[in-house]
């Protein structure tokens, strides 16, 4: 398998994967759960954030706390985040305390929200209206996260496109340079071949000159010996 084929296959796989991710998070489903948290066993609402890291999920909760005019309380020792005295008019006329627990899952995070109305935690059966309003806030939060995530992804993909465009440009430049180098080498060969032809002629002439010079020397030697006799 060539390098090119391998690259193509990787890219096709990547694009299919991207389609899956992108289309997989179109709907946001919540579940009501009952589980233990810092205030005992309570009802909560959980939501899956596909493709969102726990850090990004936490950032989203921070943003949500600002939106709800709440105090964001997070402690490294505790898995819970507290949105203290949040103002959510659709849920309650009074301030509420929201506890959020972020759990990493395959391909993303899961966030579970527990909402204290000020003495009682929201459940679907006891506080149907408040539950629906809270569910809407949570879905809105998830959608906001998904939008931020897709926006980041878009930035990354555009950056990558820029990089590969630059690489293509560089390859084209390299090719031009290489072609020029080939032309230069061909011209050099042509010049050298001419020089070799000239050199051959010069060698031939020099050999004849040498032969003549040897004759001259022989003649001089002969004369010398005749004079000495």
């Amino acid at each position: 398998m060539s390098n090119q084929q391998r690259k193509t296959i990787t890219l096709v796989a990547f694009i299919l994967f991207s389609f899956t991710i992108v289309y997989g998070q179109r709907t946001f489903t919540t579940n009501e759960v009952r589980q233990f948290m810092s205030r005992g066993e309570q009802n909560g609402i959980e939501i899956i954030l596909n493709g969102i890291s726990t850090n990004d999920a936490k950032d989203g909760i921070k943003k949500l706390s600002k939106k709800l005019d709440a105090k964001f309380v997070s402690n490294k020792k505790s898995p819970e985040i507290l949105l203290d005295d949040a103002r959510a008019s659709t849920v309650s006329a009074n301030t509420i305390d929201i506890y959020a627990i972020i759990t990493p899952i395959d391909n993303g995070s899961k966030v579970t929200f527990f909402t204290d109305l000020g003495g009682a935690f929201i459940t679907s059966y006891a506080y149907g209206t408040q539950y629906a309003a809270m569910e809407a806030i949570i879905k809105d939060y998830a959608q906001d996260r998904a939008f931020a995530d897709v926006s980041d992804q878009l930035k990354t993909e555009e950056k990558f496109l820029k990089t590969i465009n630059k690489e293509l440009k560089s390859l084209k430049k390299d090719k031009e340079k290489t072609l020029k180098e080939i032309e230069k080498a061909k011209a050099k060969i042509a010049d050298l071949e001419k020089t070799v032809i000239k050199n051959d002629a010069e060698q031939e002439a020099k050999e004849k000159q040498i032969a003549l010079q040897e004759q001259i020397i022989e003649t001089v030697k002969t004369k010398r010996s005749t004079l000495k006799n």
């Binding site: 990547f14 992108v22 993909e157 590969i164 090719k175 010079q213």
Partner: protein, 228 residues
Amino acid sequence: MNKVLKLSVAAALITLSFSSVSAQSQFTTNEVRQFMSKGEQNGIEIALNGTKPEDAKDALEKWGKKMKAKVVRDKKNPEIFIDNAQMANVSANVVDIYAVVTPIDNGSKVTIFTDLGGAFISSAAYGTQYAGLEAALKKFAKDQAIEVVEEQQKAEEKILKTLTGDLKDLTKDKAEYLKDIEKAKALIQQREADIIKNDANQAAKQQQISLQQQIIETVKAKRATLNY
């Protein structure tokens, strides 16, 4: 043209060498009567082909010393005076020789006037002495000719050495040119392979770009659906 010219020069040179070398096989003297520092006297002249006047003067000085004479050579005086020369073939006594060197085409002419001690040698008055002097002068000319030929041989051998060196250089140059040609050919081969690789890389990159553009369009579409 350059090659033809070189060969013509070489051929001319060899012809000239043959003629110049052959011309000095015989040494002919002439008796002359002419004015010199001691008035109008008889003398003997001989041509020294291929010997420059200065070399002829040096040779006369050497010849004089060989005859145990005192040699007086003055730049202002055209005569070289060889005082008290011992020439057994000419006289039992010492003789004074006055030599005058004159430049001629392709060499020099030496004229000597010989004073026996009161009378200058002439063929008419001193036949035996004249013959002895003539023989000595011919020997001097022959020795000079040998020296000229030896110098010529040295010069020609030096030229041959230079020519052989030139030929060696040319052979070396050619070998280098051929090496450079091979090197350039190898470079072309390598660069052509690079071009093939580059073409493949460009095709792959273009495919990558096209796929990346599709990814971006997909992400944008998704983003649009989320932004309501």
